[in-house]
Symmetry: C2
DNA sequence: CTTTGTTCGTACGCTTTACTAACAAACATG
DNA sequence: CATGTTTGTTAGTAAAGCGTACGAACAAAG
């Protein structure tokens, strides 16, 4: 039979169920993305290079490239300088200046942030509006106004608008639940699309941050991003695919109880939630209350250990390769990450998990903004 | 552009990176599996029914069905009895008697088990060989002999051989590490393929069990199976896809430390590993030592609570919908599952996770055998 | 300066795939 | 019996990618 090779080399990983029909045109879209992706990640190359990289023939690559050039996503750079035998190659690259992306970060406690970004995820313009305690429709109006202003700032056509929102966001971009903003069932994607007449993608802030690490932070294909801010959330990329969970609540680990020895009381009513140990306001308060450097150091180490306790079962269950922490810099500079890693190792099987890497994010405060750009790139171009 | 709809309805879930080229013939394989899958899960139907179910046209379905009939995977059952207007439909079904599957379960502590199964995953013949402490090449020889015997028992052509092995199994079917069997880097799949000249698929026992629940146990597309036996392992199916982890060690939660209050010493050197609370031998010993029913009940409740503690972060991070326990019946009859669920709920956010279902597996001792069949069905026919 | 070999990009024809349109067969219903 | 409905098949068509072949452009060697 033709579905599988005769040796049965298919393993668990391919145990996926086809749910929808797959047409040749879908295959073309896939290959188109493949070409674009190669160009995006590997940089300028020739058609022949792309053919070698993708496994497609030169003919097919030429055809796809012609389409991409016609659509304005790819440009010819001219001949390659490098003197080699044979006809000189014509270098191609993504038309990095032909489009820009709008990124919006609604995850800050007291303000909405947004930016115009290049296709490479570099911030070109930046805007921030204070939230002033706005919730519900007021907050939605502020987000809409910010987005419109950013669209006006773009110098070239906007490829799309990416938004990282707190709370539970369903695949249609509706914010099902974001208590801090007083949102429940708010069709944020629809509202922004109507206001701007542009493609909009909305996703949870931590998930978006994970995508940023995957696209721009050099993270592997199995990474968990833990985002410490006013609350604690996480985003997961498994096998290069962002996880969304059965109810689109994947990564909501802030109110998981850590340890079996009680802990501080949480707003949710439980004791010892991860947020009570790790949320930035709580940590800052504890740091302020600490008597000296040693005490401050212990506060951070304790937080790190708690995070390690919470992550150990996840690392074990998922066999994660990489964990990235995103938090205000002063929280990551101290002993927190080391304590997390140490705890993680002491609580999992060294044989399997001593290769786990844990590091702070290099993307800083722009992680959600850049992740929003990655979201648009993924949704519109299939690039990630 | 054509890669995505103009409204940007693509969300996080589609943020996947194309890595390999996709040819029209791959699309055909996909659609072929789609037809086969519909037939497999929904039962006998006509070509026109299949066209409606899959979204393909009647013409295309006819073409695919003709190919499947020629290959012996589908048969015509005759005309539908149900009197309806129009030309009577010709019912089709999977050729359920045309092939059988060999399933092998190497996860028992003291024996290797195997079976000849129907395509529906029903056990037709069963064989078991005592392990007698065999390890290394001896164990491999026993597994090979068992498999060969089973192939001889099959009355019809064998679709393939599925194997659930303890330890770390890579995608090529090599057992990278199975301490109990003394295996390290053993090419089990290659050895069995060479011995039988049939397609072989090998995977971790708990992962195979998870697949069994997904295919035959009615589990949803986001399920975690926890397998309690001589050790404790887990298998995860996320979004209908089996998870394998960055080093093919997904689900290895047996040696994750549970709680922050110490615990029994483990063979791995740590204290309080999940296995020390939950492994069947440990639990049986504790039950034997218990003074009365109340004490025995508390032993099981304690084990359940520990499992809940370990699972809470995983449920939170993955937003799991369903957890299935596979264990000797006498361990699941008592208060263990209820204690796990209760602990899980008290340690996660009710708002998100009160819908989590936890239940014992209905597949009993054959779970790995039937999962092996599912593995073959998935690998060979794209059915799962 | 010429020859040789290499590489690049493209033109042409072919195969595969799934679609639309049309139709005959077979049945229920009025 | 006429009519409408459903089924499955037979054309013919459009899209996608491949293999082959070819001209163009260059480096290296004689």
């Amino acid at each position: 039979m033709s579905t599988s090779d005769a040796t049965g080399a298919t393993a668990l990983g391919r145990a996926l169920r086809p749910r929808t029909k797959l047409l040749p045109e879908h295959a073309r879209g896939h290959n188109r993305s493949l070409v674009l992706q190669t160009l995006f990640r590997e940089g300028a190359r020739s058609r022949a290079d792309l053919a070698r990289d993708t496994g497609l023939t030169r003919v097919t690559v030429s055809d796809l490239v012609a389409e991409l050039i016609a659509d304005g996503y790819v440009v010819e750079l001219g001949q390659r300088e490098d003197p080699r035998p044979g006809k000189p190659a014509t270098l191609l690259d993504i038309a990095r200046d032909a489009h820009q992306i709008i990124g919006v970060d609604l995850s800050q406690h007291d303000s909405f942030r947004g930016a115009v970004l290049s296709l490479d995820g570099e911030v070109v313009h930046r805007r921030e509006v204070p939230l002033d305690g706005a919730t519900g429709d007021d907050a939605l109006a502020k987000a809409t106004a910010l987005t419109r202003e950013l669209v006006g700032l773009a110098a070239v056509p906007v490829l799309g608008i990416g938004v990282g929102s707190p709370g539970i966001v369903d695949p249609a971009g509706r914010v099902q639940s974001a208590p801090n903003l007083g949102w429940a069932g708010v069709d944020l994607q629809g509202a922004l699309a109507a206001a701007t007449d542009l493609p909009v993608v909305v996703a949870n802030d931590a998930n978006v941050a994970a995508l940023a690490e995957h696209s721009f932070g050099g993270a592997s294909s199995d990474v968990m991003l833990v985002k410490i801010g006013h609350g604690v959330g996480a985003g997961l990329v498994i096998g290069g695919i962002a996880l969304h969970g059965s109810r689109w609540a994947a990564g909501e680990i802030g109110h998981v109880v850590v340890g079996t020895d009680g802990g501080p009381e949480c707003v949710c009513g439980k004791r010892g939630c991860l947020e009570t140990w790790l949320a930035a306001p709580r940590l800052d308060a504890a740091l302020d209350a600490a008597a000296d450097d040693a005490a401050r150091s212990e506060v951070l180490a304790q937080a790190g250990r708690r995070l390690g306790i919470a992550l150990a079962p996840v690392v074990g269950a998922l066999d994660l390769a990489e964990i990235v922490l995103s938090a205000p810099a002063h929280l990551l500079d101290g002993p927190l990450p080391a304590a997390t890693l140490e705890t993680l190792r002491s609580r999992t099987m060294a044989e399997f998990h001593d290769h786990v890497a844990l590091r702070g994010s290099g993307l800083g405060e722009d992680i959600v903004l850049r992740g929003s750009a990655a979201l648009v790139l993924a949704g519109r171009l299939g690039v990630s």
